[in-house]
Subunit: 304 residues, 4 copies
């Protein structure tokens, strides 16, 4: 498969979309990003990288880091994790309080904000230094020891985090946050603030595409079956209330972030990261989604 | 892969679950089924069948037929179909009116009742004899010309169909049923009433597992890409509000029915049908789901 | 109190509103009404009538008849009626299915459509000829034996009654309609179709303003306490999701209808009927509501 | 009217209910109250007091103070207040986030928690020392300069206020809290913590029963029409999702608190305060509600 050629045809085909959508602007650091960027990187299981565009420009991973959080939480808790959250698609926006109230503080899945806050609580409770452990995992997965938090972004998000604070308090009310709310929120926004470029992110997701040996990174272990099941959750819950659309158009498990990044995996073949800041109304990168749709269409390969 | 041996180990492993769950009993015909049955059949792409248990006993397909309806509706309407319904998981029970009212009569996906009623309306509107066309497709897919509707089941369901009648009227109110409500409901229940055994059902789903050539059955055509996308919808929406759980445990696209059947596909490899009448609280076959979980676990093969 | 003078000042003050709002047009008979009409009639307990404007023009009572239905149902069932519905404000639109589904088929109160359908079911079940009994009560209350159903309106509403049919089916699903759905709907629309003019309607509501002796009309009896409690329900539930607004601005128990009529009572003093076809976004008569606000403001009399 | 005799018959008639219900126990100070208490006080417009039972025992007013907050907010803002909240019954529990999210941060009415938090924000914004002004009004209305906050109760409630903190953050997210969230919450819980006994509370509510002259207390003015409209809001919204029930059984405008108190008014006649700590499932005092039902039944006087 000539992935480089496919990437070139993708670049050509997405050209008409280059002004569609709006970048996230709820904090200054995200609003300041040049929206006219697009980068992509495919990392095959035999460790070849195919890149195009702004694939070396770092961006804010935001919700993509929820996948790393799930890997850690699942490694620490095993299936006990599911006593505190579900693994069903939410059918509503990622930050809705309605479902959480109706379901008495049990988040629908780990990839909506409420679920990720519960995971943050798990990590704060179980780890002596969750920030160190988390960045350690991100560095190990990406193969890049210079990966780091963006403290300015974390602080900035925390300062306007009214909705997430509402969610965290509702969780606490239902007993589904054990620790201090502010501590949990602080760690949550630290996780979100990690920056990588497409090359680093594609490398980091290789661990979820490769089932030849168990996951064993920075001290966190998962069986191949657990990793496959993480992919299943990405497939059904990775794109907010657009999971069905992504599954339909792309046909790969993946996770998006409001920074404009998307990471996805074709199990047994490759991982892929794409980034472009302009988002559609559901909060997913316009050119990112289209790039991945074209990737599976041109390569005629998807999990279906 | 020695599928026969895997089926035997499945049969052994599900033994402890044999009294769990309750069969559907909202109509006499379903209540009268002996609940202590279990059958399974794998049909590989090279057309070998592996069977065990009550795989030759016919049962009521019920919602599994929504997959055939989608094949027909997509063949007739193409992507226009999505102007009348979404392709997102619903996050709520299959027969909920709440989401339908909030979203102004646009069903979340084709596999909840409201979506299937809209598909029934499409077929009634587009086909001179929808009943004949539908059973023609079911016969062609199953390779079995004796497949038929169960008129008694259809009539019986229609007579107590208060909730589906409520849904159909709400759809009509929002202009999303064009034809006569009673006509649409009658056809809807006819579709649900079709009976197959596991061997026939596995054969029928081969068409969704095989992407080597386009879908072309009983006059209805779909591209391979369209069939793959149907699989994507099965993956995210095929199990009511348990789609995430099925995806997590089994890792195959599939569709369940309240008669206790489940059909699933491993694209490029096989289709599988399993049947056992006792249902869990979400309306999915207890032993059916467990059988498929064991199948992908023992074979170490899933789409993830 | 010089009510005639107050009516004249009301007529002057509402002039600027005369083109505001839209009349109901979901059936031809309502769409055909000349919207530029306004009539009012006050009927005091000592049986003096004060009228102005188009107070002798008959109009479709629509939901105002739910008050008569409640009088009959309460007379027949007593407090048993409240096992089948509540008496709380709904907080949502009059025809919402959401609350009814969440609360498992128990309507919030007798004045939303679902509650009125349950009352219709009660009357159909308890009375040999509900249509005859109902019109008998309407004639007795209005003191006018020529009052009648408008069969054309009833048939016309029934033919497009998708939402009410959805509600009736949902009620039946939850066991809260005992009789035949179509029979109940037919009677429901017959009730709604009754026509009166403001003079007749004000007279009919005298029975709810007068607590000096028990209610005893056309064979239906209620204690004074029961009549007062009906007023309480009108106060909290009589104006769909605008009950609070009406209570705030007017301060009288009352009931509105989509035909543009409003009937209200000042217990111990008078009843009042006002009519003007143009409705606000909540389905209540614009000039009707304003007229009653001005009535209690100018007379400095309300229940508060 | 021999109110003393009526109070005695009430005391006799409520005896069988004395063990029904559960007192609030979410903070130690409320859990420590002896639940076997009951007191009542009627204060007529000619300033006679009729008392019985534990009418001199102070208790925590809790949500009853929302009436004082509304008087102050309405005095400061006039009808501008309604741009930030509605005046419709909520149809849901007093602390629900669902409606608030669906209605984009605009509380249904001033007497649910979200509405009271917005009023607290108004008072914090408009007054240099809201705590001093508020207790000043409470002292003036009750005619008792020793009335005070219970600082321990306020601090204790604030420390477990997860749900109210969630609500406040959701309001802030929608721009409907202008000030600092913690400052607003602190004032909110101070208001709730005020203690009075039934005699003081009945006296304080006289101001809402008496329309002979405008409201003018501690520097806050309201017209008689505004006071009547406050009564209308108490009538439709004063008892959480039991407003209809209270209106039906009692027929007076009033407001309850989770401390077991209820204050109500019969406009032009009297105010009444009753207190008993055991609450029904909706959070209203069991013996308190029954006492008021018996009061209007025995006196044959209600607003209806």
């Amino acid at each position: 498969m000539d992935y480089q050629k496919i990437l070139q045809s993708i670049q050509r085909d997405i050209e008409p979309l280059k002004s569609e959508g709006q970048q996230a602007d709820y904090i200054p650091a995200l609003a300041a990003v040049n929206p006219d960027q697009w980068g992509i990187c495919i990392n095959t299981l035999d460790n070849k990288q195919y890149t195009l565009g702004d694939s070396a420009v770092p961006f804010s991973l935001q919700s993509i880091t929820k996948v790393f959080a799930l890997a850690m939480a699942l490694s620490l808790e095993g299936d006990n994790l599911w006593t505190r959250m579900g693994k069903e698609p939410s059918g509503t926006a990622f930050n809705s309080l309605i479902q959480l109230e109706l379901e008495k503080g049990k988040p629908r899945n780990p990839f909506i904000n409420s679920g990720a806050l519960v995971m943050a609580d798990v990590l704060v409770e179980r780890l002596p230094n969750p920030e160190a452990a988390f960045i350690g995992l991100a560095r190990d997965l990406s193969g890049c020891p210079s990966i780091d938090y963006n403290f300015e972004v974390a602080r900035s998000e925390h300062s306007v985090a009214y909705l997430n604070t509402a969610i965290a308090n509702l969780l606490k009310y239902h007993g589904n946050i054990h620790g201090d709310i502010d501590r949990v929120l602080r760690f949550y926004f630290m996780m979100c603030s990690i920056e990588m470029n497409c090359q680093q992110l594609a490398h980091a997701f290789l661990a979820f595409a490769d089932h030849r040996k168990p996951f064993d990174h920075a001290g966190f272990q998962l069986t191949s079956s657990q990793v496959k099941r993480m992919n299943a959750i990405m497939q059904t819950c990775g794109f907010y209330d657009e999971a069905g659309e992504f599954s339909y158009l792309v046909g790969l498990p993946g996770k998006s972030g409001v920074g404009g990044g998307i990471a996805a995996v074709f199990p047994g073949q490759y991982s892929v990261a794409v980034w472009s800041p302009r988002l559609n109304a559901k909060g997913n990168s316009v050119m990112g989604m289209k790039s991945l749709e074209l990737l599976t269409t041109h390569s005629r390969q998807s999990i279906f």
